[in-house]
């Protein structure tokens, strides 16, 4: 009796173990997990657009700030003065432009006068021609002297010359009328200079580009900073993600859009839901490097190779704010292509 029971138990244990190994293996295949993961968020370096001395810093290290909040203030005095200078230059060019308009009006009326002179010369010439035409037939009959006719002809010729002169004068007066192009361009330049100065003045107040957390702020006010010099960093708290490093052999079982569960090691009792947003396409090779066009290949390569790991990016949904720290350790379990409520045991 006991012999049969013993044999039954023994073989049942063998079969049971085989089944358990198969189940565990397929479960692991369906929901790959990685305990090499970190919490990440976009981090940017906050710097000033304009150089100058920082006169006040409105935030302290590790402060949470909203987009548009004032972070720090560069001394605005030089920029205000520069703006006033530019505004004065703009006024000068505007006045120049008005003067130019008046000059053109004067030149225009001169041209009008010259135009009228043409008409007068034309009338005079007509009169002289008519006088000459009247006198010429009278000369044959002896009513007028040759002297009188010659005088009339001279007057006529003289009036033609006057008409010519008037025409040339009018032409010259019209050509003299200038344009406002140069002065207008000067006004445009001055306007742009004012806008630039205004922009620089506005940029002396540095504001938060997004909702985030101030980090790495160690300097007090008083430091002179140049354009682009990092004052501190800001963590974008709207885009937390977990970066898990999966073995390359596990990647075929992971797809973009898969549901994932992320455990932050600071508190593993609060699993965070997430979605696989991307899978890394490249990591740097440690076995080969190329220097000056030729690859450097190590001579001693291992017989047994360890699988490479690639980053898998998991976008977190409503992560608990108290657990989200850049670089925090985490564990990621991919739950397959099904929706977020799936257990992941379907395979």
């Amino acid at each position: 009796m006991r012999a049969i029971l013993g044999k039954a138990i023994g073989y049942a244990v063998f079969i049971g173990t085989a089944v358990m190994i198969y189940l565990a293996w397929s479960a692991g295949l369906a929901s790959p997990r990685s305990d090499v993961a970190e919490i990440e968020a976009p981090v940017i370096q906050i710097s000033s657009t304009v150089p100058g001395r920082i006169i006040s810093i409105a935030v302290t290290n590790n402060d949470a700030v909203k987009a548009g909040d004032i972070l720090f203030q560069i001394d605005p005095e030089p920029y205000r003065l520069r703006l006033e200078q530019a505004q004065a230059e703009l006024r000068a060019t505007q006045s120049e432009l008005a003067q130019g308009e008046r000059n053109i009006a004067t030149e225009q009326s001169n041209a009008d006068v010259a135009q009228k002179q043409i008409e007068r010369a034309q009338f005079n010439a007509d009169l002289a021609r008519q006088t000459l035409e009247r006198l010429e037939p009278l000369l044959d009959r002896g009513f007028v002297t040759a002297q009188q006719v010659d005088q009339a002809r001279t007057t006529y010729n003289d009036s033609l010359v006057s008409l010519d002169q008037a025409l040339q004068q009018s032409q010259g007066a019209s050509q003299v009328i200038g344009t406002l192009d140069t002065r207008q361009a000067q006004v445009d330049t001055a306007t742009a200079t004012v806008a630039l100065a205004q922009r620089d003045l506005d940029n002396t107040t540095v504001r938060a580009p997004f909702d985030g957390i101030v980090t790495g702020l160690t300097m007090p006010a008083g430091q002179y900073v140049i354009t682009g010099q990092t004052v501190f960093a800001m963590i974008d708290t709207s885009q937390w993600e977990a970066v898990a490093f999966f073995r390359e052999t596990e990647l075929p079982n992971i797809a973009v859009g898969d549901a994932a569960e992320v455990f932050v090691m600071a508190n593993t009792r609060v699993p965070v839901r997430g979605t696989v947003s991307a899978i890394g396409w490249g990591v740097r090779s440690a076995d080969a490097a190329t220097i000056l066009g030729l690859p450097i290949v190590s001579n001693s390569l291992n017989w047994v190779k360890v699988a490479k790991r690639f980053p898998v990016y998991v976008e977190l949904h409503e992560p608990p704010t108290d657990l989200m720290r850049v670089g925090a350790s985490a564990v990621v379990v991919i739950q397959g292509a099904a929706d977020a409520d799936d257990d992941g045991d379907a395979h």
């Binding site: 138990i9 023994g10 049971g16 997990r33 305990d35 090691m265």
Partner: protein, 93 residues
Amino acid sequence: MLPRAIRPAAAIAGALTLAGCSAAGGPPSIPIFGSFFPAWIICAVGGIVVAVIIRALLIALRIDEHLPAPPLVYLCLAISGGIGFWMIWSGVA
């Protein structure tokens, strides 16, 4: 609050009692004294403990002497016990 050291054991006991009703799994790593241990190591230890207990039971019942290849049976018991704990812990079962 439970002392840190016995938390994983308590967690496994809790997972055992909750087997079947909790769908969500526990974390695949368990922090013990500032180090993160893979859950499967703790489950494997649990499997060995189960095998030892069952061995004592079988010896008491005098079935032990009739087992085919006893070392292999106990090895398999330890393995399947560990896998069982792991499946309960990770919510697969």
